[in-house]
Symmetry: C2
Subunit: 431 residues, 2 copies
């Protein structure tokens, strides 16, 4: 029996695309065994035919006509990144019933509903393991391994750049600026690092994780985002003194509001206690902790970026997609059968740590405590330290779990007090 | 449109089975959404209809006629454990083309080829996520998430009982016997702990992991097994002094032997350096580290045992199986297209740590070093310490990576030396 042929088109030939092309040719026999079909790479669409390409990319496969290539393919692998022209190409493929594999988190988090609707309408399949946490198979875990369970919480380090910077600050005592410069030297951060350090990359991944975990649509605009570029060496030192490290975390929680369930999604620099497995994730690694009712706590750990690592995730999707193209059956579909409310940021629940700079005179503690009590905020711990600023002390308060809104109410009142010079830092804290 | 009905039969109603029955009824609506089909639990086969059952198991579903139940089902969930009658029931189902979901590692590792052949012959599907590492989705990871990659090494803590005992010995300084008694009190160890502490449970899981990772058939008899019941408090203390903890590890490696590839599989108590992520896996948790060519290093972590946790893994398989039953398509099949040689234990490669008790006189180090050199064994480190035994010293040697066979050759010669009182301990060491 002649094995079936599945025609693969790759769009984009950057760091990930070129690795996908190389592995498709080097590991072709393995993939054929695993799919029960030959994977036939019919072309690689690029913007410029003349640009230099890494070794292992056959020039005769390059084309600048993405649309013709899409129309001839069984599976389109979109690795262009960004919104356009990726969106147009992906929609073209899906509308023709062509399976799409993408690693494009920005596209999914911004245009997910449009893509999923197009896929459903044309009975096409959309795979996106590579869009979250690179080689870490957390999309599979949520879509399939936890299909028999009820996920309540997802907490993740899903941006390697910011984890590298924060880890470098923690290990060396360097400032944010110095650690960023080091990350840029090593290729872990872009020349313009804003998508990473301002939290938008993590927010896109947070939206995708929440959609999968809670079976409801969550877009990037639903995610409350706080970046980490204003974290200082002093914050890191303060965290250490309190038995914590600072991590930029994606938080996705299923919460009960009265009779209903809702979803809370946010990205924020967070104090993580040293016993938490996320505290030990160093360098540019990613890790996602999932809590499910039956399974309990699971953690997935690995490399969240890098061309060849991300290519591994893309190719697992290609093998699954090709198996379905060749042998039929039900591919994983968007499963957003719940329509859960997205909680406003003010209702997000967490323990918080607040650092206040106070006039150093007797009676201030009582005034502060009074404000917290009047907002029904329960204080778990506090530490007061003298400061070099003349006549000032720093007070660090840790609250029990509360809402961001309740905390902000208290902070507004605190700012009115004469004894409060300023609110220096507010961070979520995870046990 | 009336949703499709998929008939589920559960065999066995112990700690896992009763949780599966409970969750099938409590989460039925979720599962229906996820499968596009209603899961209809048609019966639960038990040995005794009179035995007491946990709440949530409807007595009217119990039957003592497993065969009739199997013959009426679309999916059989086998949670009896052990070889017989589980083997007979699973074969009956598969031969009739009925999908089987099992958590039975002993059955798979002992009778895998017979089951997979029966499944293939009747075009039936066999799922077994729960057979390895409980709720930790490592079977999915190897079968699907890494389908686009080339796995080279799998290293795992896959037995929670022994990890609890070793962790307890490490944290409290207790002896093996005391730690075992504590594990038995807490329900982490059986009254007869031999399957766990002698390494056979881990060996069954090691065989399953190796089969999945390397696409070749590996059975429990292929695995070289060393148990951990002779590990002493002194070994644990010695490990700590050397910057390590002792873990019972399943090792599965793809190795090159001349022109060919082969597989090395073994279970052994192993020194794990403190920086290795496996060193920090405490209590009864499980963790599996997978190294793949493109993805690099991944780790999967979670609860490896427990009724409800294992039920989560069983139900993820049930959801996948029901989706396939209702909507057709290619379910994951055994993919053993490679026929890799299983390396004899003597050829397993590792760094080793050897503790020798020596007569305490000058010149012994030179004699020892000469033996290692004559066997072409390169020594990475050595430490000599005085011992309470009169006139003795202890010498701890760490080798560079070598084969177990080469090491045993050297040990045989060492035992011939007058200055060597005894070889006290030999352990593999992982960086």
């Amino acid at each position: 029996m002649t094995p079936k042929q599945v025609k693969i088109a790759v769009l984009g030939c950057g760091t990930v695309g070129s690795q996908v092309v190389r592995l498709l040719s080097e590991r072709g026999e393995d993939y054929a065994q695993r799919c029960g079909a030959d994977l036939d790479l019919i072309g690689v669409a690029v913007r410029s035919l003349e640009a230099p390409r890494p070794q292992g990319v056959p020039r005769e496969l390059l084309t600048s006509d993405a649309e013709d290539l899409i129309d001839a393919a069984d599976i389109v692998v979109e690795l262009i990144g960004g919104i356009e022209p990726a969106r147009t190409f992906v929609l073209r493929a899906l509308r023709r019933g062509v399976t799409v594999v993408t690693g494009n988190k920005a596209l999914l988090a911004s245009c997910g509903p449009e893509l999923f609707d197009a896929a459903q309408h044309a009975n096409a399949d959309l795979y996106f393991e590579a869009a979250v946490a690179g080689a870490v198979p957390v999309v599979y875990a949520l879509r399939e391994s936890l299909a028999g369970d009820h996920v309540t919480d997802v907490l993740g380090i899903v941006n390697g750049t910011t984890n590298y910077i924060l880890d470098e600050m923690t290990r060396s005592g360097r400032s944010y600026e110095e650690a960023l410069a080091r990350a840029q030297e090593l290729g872990y951060a872009e020349a313009d690092p804003s998508a990473d350090v301002d939290g938008y990359d993590a927010a896109a991944k947070c939206a995708i994780l929440a959609s999968l975990a809670f079976h409801t649509r969550v877009g990037i605009d639903d995610v409350d985002v706080t970046g980490m570029s204003d974290i200082t060496a002093a914050d890191i030192e303060q965290a250490r003194a309190g038995g914590c490290v600072i991590k930029l975390l994606a938080h996705a929680h299923r919460v009960r509001v009265g009779e209903r369930e809702a979803v809370s999604v946010r990205v924020a620099p967070t104090l993580v206690e040293r016993d938490n497995p996320l505290a030990s994730i160093t360098g540019a690694f990613n890790a996602v902790v999932v809590d499910a009712e039956a399974a309990g706590r699971l953690m997935f750990y690995g490399q969240g970026a890098g061309g060849v690592q991300t290519a591994s995730a893309v190719l697992s999707d290609v093998v699954a997609a090709a198996t379905h193209v060749a042998h039929g059956g039900a591919a994983p579909r968007e499963q957003t059968y719940e329509s859960l409310e997205i909680l406003p940021a003010a209702q997000a629940r967490s323990a918080f740590e607040v650092r206040l700079i106070l006039a150093d005179r007797t009676g201030v503690l009582a005034e502060i405590a009074q404000v917290f009590a009047s907002h029904d905020l329960s204080v778990a711990a506090l530490t007061q330290t003298a400061r070099e600023e003349t006549g000032c002390s720093a007070l660090t308060l840790t609250t029990h779990e509360t809402t961001l809104g309740a905390l902000e109410g208290a902070l507004a009142d605190l700012r009115e007090l004469a004894c409060v010079k300023r609110v220096e830092r507010v961070l979520s804290r995870e046990g």
